[in-house]
């Protein structure tokens, strides 16, 4: 839960004006467009948005795992503990990945190598960053598997990924990710492929590991329920930009951006009876057809004004810790001298 005294510390990760572009038919288009945010130590930051909003691309940019030749970071800074990640060589990045920052992916089947045993893959992570003997590594992987709630870990180390269920595989992925006690864990839709009772187990596990290891987490998800249960702070993305950022309580009880408001009303809730859900007309514009100026949500927004297509809103603070990018709010108007 958010504890404000600890959040005054220097951020663990700072992302400033990040622009990540993808090559489509020979031209680069920004999939992430001038995104800035911080992650403080021990904080769980949720990133929500629909498919194609750039949330995964943003996390791949932080990890420097963009597909070569297709995606590239065009501008901005990614600062982890004072070090600029975007300027690092592949070799230097390899030291950071898996040791200081790790990632869990959505599909636990495709993110493991099917021809190696669970133990082999776990030990690989350990060998990459620490000098330990084979016996120690095996011992440690058994302990890791145990810590993520796998029963019979001594047997599972010698099994192959296909012998495990989806939930077990995701536990193994988490064990790999936390093997070197990273300071930051990026979880990209970690429970989307799982059934709801298994999802509950995995969320509980992630939360307890975060508390024990004093880890920061970036939780990427499209599920607002997961956000509400897990996160301290939430970033809402739409079409490559951050449209709203607030602590979890403010976001759910006092959303300000029309997109956030509509999204909240679009999910059916167990404890209410609604004849009709709010829906957002139209679809997210494709990367190639993004409007050049103005708000990217303007063409679907019920509150759109003529200025919305000409003035590009800036993420501005409307109250302490609550930022919105919508020109309905004075704080979002572009500052003097800044080109929209």
């Amino acid at each position: 839960m958010s504890n404000y005294s600890i959040h005054k510390e220097a951020p663990l990760l700072e992302v400033k004006n990040l622009e990540t572009a993808f090559n489509i038919d020979g031209e680069f288009y920004n999939a992430v467009d001038k995104v800035s945010f911080n992650v403080k130590p021990r904080q769980i930051v949720g990133v929500v948005g629909e498919s194609g909003c750039g949330k995964s691309v943003m996390s791949l940019s932080v990890m420097q795992l963009l597909p070569k030749g297709v995606g590239k970071i065009r501008g901005g800074e990614i600062i982890f503990e004072g070090v600029h990640l975007e300027k690092m060589s592949e070799k230097e990045m390899n030291k950071i990945r898996g040791r200081d920052i790790s990632m869990i992916f959505q599909e636990p089947m495709t993110s493991m190598n099917p021809v190696f045993t669970i133990g082999f893959q776990l030990q690989e992570v350990l060998f990459n960053h620490t000098k330990i003997s084979k016996a120690e590594a095996r011992q440690k992987s058994v302990a890791l598997l145990k810590s993520v709630g796998i029963s019979r870990p001594e047997k599972i180390v010698d099994e192959y990924p296909h012998q495990l269920s989806g939930g077990m595989r995701q536990r193994v992925m988490i064990a790999m990710a936390i093997a070197n006690q990273p300071k930051l864990l990026i979880a990209d839709e970690p429970t989307t492929a799982l059934d709801v009772t298994v999802q509950a187990q995995i969320l509980e596990l992630l939360k307890s590991i975060q508390e024990v290891n004093d880890m920061s987490v970036i939780m990427i998800t499209h599920d607002l329920g997961v956000v509400a249960e897990m996160c301290d702070e939430v970033i809402v993305m739409y079409a490559g930009r951050i449209v709203e950022r607030a602590d979890v309580d403010t976001l759910f009880y006092n959303p300000k951006h029309p997109y956030t408001e509509l999204m909240m009303g679009a999910i059916p809730k167990m404890d209410e009876d609604k004849e009709e859900l709010s829906s957002i007309k139209g679809i997210v514009p494709s990367l190639k057809n993004m409007p050049a100026t103005g708000c990217r949500f303007a063409n679907r927004c019920p509150k759109a004004m003529p200025e919305c297509t000409t003035i590009t809103p800036q993420l501005g603070e409307i109250e302490q810790g609550h930022e919105v990018a919508c020109i309905l709010y004075e704080a979002s108007m572009p500052k003097e001298g800044v080109k929209a």
Partner: protein, 328 residues
């Protein structure tokens, strides 16, 4: 939605002790060496005009149930009564005829539409199969259907790949509506869609239900979506129906320990609500080798000695609320 006023007390569909097994072949002669009991003795009924929701986790048999009802799969045992007529054993022309009355909307809007066909041909195919209509009438009817599901008329000449996921699902719905069926089986119709598009499709389905007097069997894994759509909800676990009740009764007072865990496991989009969560141990067992007795007993927090021996039958505990559990 509560369209209680529209619901007749007449059963449109009645399922009695339905069993659908998938044979497992093995050995030198590819003999059947076992059965995956995907649906194992399930009974329920759907009244005219209502929406019955089927929920459960992957492998619980909810999709197999839907596919058996529409006869894409053959039942191993049991009866499917549609308007009082047994359709379990129908073949050939009589089976064809029943398909006019029961249609299906599939989960994957990418895989369930033929990429080589124009949308107009996709939607008109069911009509061409069953009715003799002139080309002009056919086209008018399809245009009308496309508008009804919220697609532009020029969609007629386009191909499925030119549409987004939500629009493709609308095409699938138009195709299902083409023959004005009485029952539509919707198998996870929105689980491949984003929330904002999901709500569009859910609203559309409700609106069409009123307009065309439809009865729905709504299959989904998302309990909040099912509750939003259904009048009654059936919960399945490992091929068995463990609980079936009117939706508010199911939500307010779930009786089966599995239903209780399932409801408590759903992350609520409300940060102020801290609830007691029942976290189940382990995974769903393989339906190839289901546990003896109650299929849920190895994970059940309330399991008793008899649970591992005897499977409880579905019994009515409160009016309209049936549960299969030895606790009651």
């Amino acid at each position: 939605m509560s369209n209680t006023t529209l619901i007749d007390n007449e059963n449109l569909l009645e399922i009695r002790n339905l069993k659908t097994y998938y044979p497992v072949k093995g050995g030198f002669f590819r003999r059947t060496i076992g059965n995956v009991k995907a649906v194992d003795d399930v009974s329920f009924e759907i009244k005219k005009g209502e929406t019955l929701g089927l929920v459960g986790e992957s492998g619980c048999g909810k999709s197999t149930t839907g596919r058996t009802i529409i006869r894409l799969l053959n039942a191993t045992d049991g009866e499917i009564l549609f308007e009082g007529k047994d359709i379990t054993k129908l073949r050939g022309k009589t089976l064809q005829a029943i398909r006019q009355d029961i249609q299906m909307v599939f989960q994957d809007p990418y895989a369930s539409l033929n990429p080589m066909q124009m949308v107009g041909d996709i939607v008109s195919e069911p009509i061409r199969n069953f009715k003799n209509v002139s080309m002009n009438d056919l086209k008018d009817e399809v245009m009308d259907l496309l508008t009804k599901v919220g697609l532009p008329e020029d969609a007629y000449y386009k191909y499925a790949h030119e549409f987004s996921g939500g629009q493709r699902q609308r095409i699938g719905i138009a195709r299902a509506l083409a023959l004005r069926p009485k029952l539509i089986i919707a198998d996870e119709p929105v689980s491949a869609l984003d929330v904002s598009v999901q709500s569009q499709v859910l609203n559309l389905l409700k609106q069409l239900q009123k307009e065309f007097d439809l009865t729905f069997l709504f299959i989904a894994h998302d309990l909040s979506v099912v509750k939003h759509m259904s009048d009654r909800i059936g919960v399945m676990y490992l091929g068995n129906m463990v609980e079936i009740a009117e939706r508010n009764s199911m939500y307010a007072e779930p009786l089966h320990p599995y239903t209780q865990a399932l409801i408590s496991a759903i992350p609520m989009p409300d940060p102020r609500r801290k609830k007691e969560r029942i976290v189940l141990e382990g995974d769903v067992p393989s339906p190839l080798n289901p546990p003896t007795g109650c299929p849920f007993h190895p994970r059940c927090p309330a399991a008793m000695a008899e649970c591992s021996q005897v499977k409880s039958a579905l019994k009515e505990v409160k009016p309209g609320h049936r549960v299969a559990c030895h606790l009651y």
